[in-house]
């Protein structure tokens, strides 16, 4: 997509529960085309919950608030409808489907996401193979089963590959950096930058500063116990590395950062 994009993803006052457990509490977040946001926070803070709530996983119930794309309320849409609105999640733990070949999966998904595009099978295969090359994955991957028997790093790269292939408006990367070695991390970071340049709005969920050093996010948010406790620029990541998340838990944010 070459033309300039002006998309806005609004998360307003969002509270989410799983089963009987309230996890996200009145969360607000706005992401625009071409922005990279990072979401950091300790284990169990609710980062994946936010990702799942945005894509519309029915296990996660929205109790207050809404999610909007360009002003359109998508809170009640099903998973596949939100995907068609331009939401994409690179899963923290992508599920495997034995026997379902990547090429069949990718093609069906692509046709579903871009129903008006005429898809030439041969060209599509070439495009996928080119992306496989970019992510240093073997061409034979197109005939492998979806996430079946792939290493952790390979799975993550296939998720990032889909981000470039499907050209969504907004991308959430849930711990895309875990399980990646330095080389793979660089490749994925490059892919993220590429997506940003093409106008995708990006939310990177991570524990570690490492990937952020490569992609230089525009904003960093810290999520603790289901609430964003601080938002700011790159210096936040440094602070977390120094003090850890306990720093926020003690409610000393205002005192120290002020």
């Amino acid at each position: 997509m070459t033309d300039k994009q002006n998309n806005v993803l609004n998360i307003e006052n969002l509270s989410v529960k799983v089963g009987d457990k309230n996890i996200l509490k009145s969360l607000n977040l706005t992401i625009k085309s071409g922005e990279i946001h990072a979401l950091m926070g300790p284990n169990g803070a609710g980062k994946s919950t936010l990702a799942q709530a945005i894509i519309g996983n029915p296990k996660y119930t929205v109790t207050t608030g809404k999610i909007l794309i360009n002003g359109k309320d998508i809170t009640d849409l099903q998973l596949y409808e939100r995907a068609r609105e331009g939401i994409f999640l690179a899963f923290q733990e992508p599920v495997s489907v034995q026997g379902l070949k990547y090429i069949n999966f990718l093609r069906t998904a692509y046709m579903s996401l871009h129903p008006n595009e005429k898809l030439e099978y041969k060209k599509f295969i070439e495009q996928v193979q080119e992306l496989l090359g970019l992510f240093r994955l073997d061409k034979s991957f197109i005939d492998r089963s979806l996430n079946d028997g792939l290493s952790g790093g390979e799975k993550k790269r296939m998720e990032a590959l889909q981000m470039l292939l499907f050209k969504p408006k907004f991308v959430i990367l849930d711990e895309i950096d875990s399980g990646l070695d330095v080389d793979a991390l660089k490749i994925v970071a490059e892919a993220v930058k590429k997506a940003k340049e093409s106008g995708t709005g990006i939310l990177i969920i991570t524990h570690y500063k490492r990937i952020l050093d490569y992609v230089s996010p525009d904003f960093i948010h810290v999520l603790v116990d289901g609430t964003i406790v601080e938002s700011g620029k790159a210096e936040i990541a440094k602070k977390i590395e120094e003090y850890g998340y306990d720093y926020y838990r003690r409610g000393e944010v205002n005192a120290k950062v002020g």
Binding site: I55, G56, N57, P58, K59, Q78, L79, Y80, R82, A83, R84, F88, L89, F91, P94, V95, V97, Q98, G99, L100, K101, N104, F105, T108, A109, M111, S112, L113, P115, S145, L146, Q162, F166
Partner: protein, 469 residues
Amino acid sequence: MQKLDENFEIKKDKYDFKTNIKPVYQVGQGLTRSVVEEISRVKKEPEWMKNIRLRALEIFNSKPLPTWGPDLSELNFDEITYYIKPEDRKSSSWDEVPKEIKETFDKLGVPEMERKYLAGTVAQFESEGVYSKIKKQWEEKGVIFMDMDSALQKYPEIIREHFGKVVPASDNKFAALNTAVWSGGSFLYIPKGVHVDLPVQAYFRMNGELEGQFERTLIVAEEGASVHYIEGCTAPTYSRYALHAAVVEVYAKKNSKVRYTSIQNWSDNVINLPTKRAWVEENARMEWVQGSLGSKITMTYPSSILRGEYASTSNLNVALAMGEVWKDNGAKVVHAAPNTSSKVVAKSISGRGGMSVYRGLLRINQGAYNSKSSVQCDALIVDDISKSNTYPHNEILDDTAVFSHEASVGKISEEQINYLMSRGIREEDARSLIVLGFLDDVLKEIPLEYSIEFNKLIRLEMSKMGAVG
């Protein structure tokens, strides 16, 4: 509309239509000695065949229904019509086939398939073959492909030599029934060394309820011959049952190769109980491919008796048990000679309350040394109300045998559906993708026209299913 969604236009209705014709002849309901004699008389059969029938009737009467597997108590042998002759003529040109019957096969795409990729075709309507043709180049090489009744008139010696040897009437109640009242079926004979490199196809169509189709198929592949036989079966839906009880006997002689592909898409009132068996001689190969799409009840266990050294067999079974159906599928292999090998792969899908069973018998006789066998059965259950069971029975009597058995039962998980849906894929398409992925390696083995059919049917079935959970 996107491409994928167009596939949902396809309905099973393609097969679900009734042909309006008045049979030229039919016997009364019920099974008596005089009905059997009558069938034989109408067919102007030799005395020996009539005697085989009458003996088989006694065996049928003396045998109980199977006590295992699906419930067959709905069958009432007194209300079934055992022989329905739709038409006097047997044609070798579609133009001569009566209009209504020709239209029936046109709708089913039979003449089209024949033109496109077959070496020969037999088409049966109710109890009789109405059309048969083998292309000239094969006819000239001595290949015979015709309906079984015509074959009995023309080649009584070959039939007498082979009939009822591989599947004796005493094998089971329904083999006995078939032997008593058989009609139609196909006779395929491949002379020594002849390779028929296009498939031949027999297509069986039933048109009524409370009737039986009892075709009898005999395939003889002489030394070094090879052939691929395809069988297709359909019927319209009725509220009462119809019975299909075929017998198939295959002789795969030394160094020959026979592939038998059966794609049944019977309507969901059909009780399908065929007995299929092959004798496989030295260095010969027998391949069974079974696609079980339709029917209310199916019990079928294609068997290979590996009688000669280095004989081999494969048995591939794909069963769809969707809705109120019971699919009891399996394979039997007897390794009766050294260095024989077998491979069984069974895959089933159960959904909407369907029951799918794998029932297998594998025997490696003592003295069948260095024999190899592998059995793999995988079941996929697509919801919480459907079932799958596996009853493998293995008798490995030789110490040198190499044998493996693997079984798996899988379920479509919510996580899988969610993941696929998060890529813009609708729920029913997600299910179809998972099911088709599960079948990917076996659908390749099915002739293209039928695997497309399989594909469409799975999409249709998945679209009928409710939400996950």
